[in-house]
């Protein structure tokens, strides 16, 4: 599980990070002293889990939850047990850790998070995390089928058990595989250029020896996929 830590107290961040390092399945991507910085990060980087402090100046943990769309799963960390009832009004919150956090209690919270994330990852529409209809694609995110205009997709990246679908308007993270989504996309428009990337050929800005620039993303092109890419381009 990719996670981030948001806490204005350096001591708390260090403790949570250390506790995370004892769990093989946890990968701490970043630590943030305030929620605003974390929001910017989340716009570009999907995460599975957030350790979130409630008491932070100016922008509290609850402000943060209210602000982000489709929040990932969250474990609240706080020195105040009084917010527990309020905390569980949010579906994204899987547990509530009162500081100082003990190793035993932390491990229990991680088990809860893993259990919840496994359930979320189960497809609601069988074998249809990704389904197409005409020029549109429906992706299943947190039990909602979201409609995406296929030509607006410019990049799809594999991220572990998930794929990130980048469109002109928004990025989506969905529990699926590159292979599954590739089968749903029009062949003339999309090409797998690397084991982790599918690109929209029409969105290519430029090409170098072993990479392509798609919007602002530099994407590697594997040697085996380069001939097909070159064949599909309208070369002078």
């Amino acid at each position: 599980m990719n996670c981030i830590i948001i806490d204005d107290e350096a001591t708390a961040r260090a403790i949570i990070s250390q506790l995370c390092s004892n769990v093989d399945s946890l990968n701490v991507l970043e630590e943030f002293p305030n929620a605003i910085q974390a929001i910017k990060f989340l716009n570009q980087n999907p995460v599975d889990l957030i350790f979130l402090d409630i008491h932070m100046p100016e922008f509290t943990g609850f402000d943060f939850i209210e602000t982000i769309k489709n929040p990932p799963k969250i474990i609240l960390t706080t020195s105040d047990a009084n917010f527990a009832i309020q905390a569980f009004e949010y579906e994204c919150i899987v547990d509530y850790l009162v500081k100082p956090i003990t190793l035993e209690r932390f491990q229990k919270a991680i088990q809860k998070a893993e259990s919840v994330l496994t359930k979320v990852a189960e497809p609601i529409v069988s074998e249809k995390e990704v389904a197409t209809s005409g020029n549109h694609l429906y992706i299943n995110i947190d039990r909602r089928l979201i409609k995406i205009d296929i030509p607006s997709i410019y990049l799809i990246e594999a991220k572990g058990d998930y794929i990130q679908v980048k469109t002109e308007d928004k990025n989506y993270t969905v529990h699926s595989t590159l292979k599954k989504i590739h089968e749903k996309l029009p062949e003339d428009l999309f090409l797998k250029v690397h084991r982790s990337f599918i690109i929209n050929i029409k969105k290519i800005v430029d090409i170098e020896d072993n990479s392509v620039l798609i919007k602002k993303d530099v994407i590697p092109v594997s040697r085996s996929n380069r001939p097909e890419l070159m064949k599909r381009l309208n070369l002078l």
């Binding site: 107290e9 001591t11 403790i15 008491h55 100046p57 020195s79 500081k99 100082p100 003990t102 190793l103």
Partner: protein, 107 residues
């Protein structure tokens, strides 16, 4: 009443024997505690009690990390005091801060 003394039991327990981490955490506390204390005093002097309560809330974590259980209860009560605009427990809280300050200078 004799002031209870800080200890490193929590840090030892959660570190899993990682001595480098223990030292790193102590260094962070040594750096962060005086800063938090200073902000607390600034807000207290300015009679900005809501902010002062926030500062006490933040300091509570370090009080608990250093194993000061009774002091933690005083901090909880003082935080509530401040939110009601009262400073009844100021001196007791000050004594806790002094104890921690002295302890951090020794370790």
């Amino acid at each position: 009443m004799e002031q209870e003394q800080p200890n490193l039991s929590y840090i030892h327990n959660m570190s899993g024997g990682d001595k480098a981490f223990e030292q790193k955490l102590i260094d962070i506390i040594k750096l962060e505690f005086p800063q938090e204390k200073e902000v607390y005093y600034d807000n207290l002097v300015a009679k900005n009690f809501k902010q002062t309560a926030e500062n006490v809330h933040k300091l509570k974590h370090k009080i608990s990390i250093l194993g000061l259980e009774k002091s933690y209860e005083i901090a909880v009560a003082f935080e509530e005091n401040l939110l009601e605009g009262r400073t009844d427990l100021f001196q007791q809280f000050e004594s806790i801060l002094n104890t921690i300050t002295n302890y951090l200078q020794k370790i």
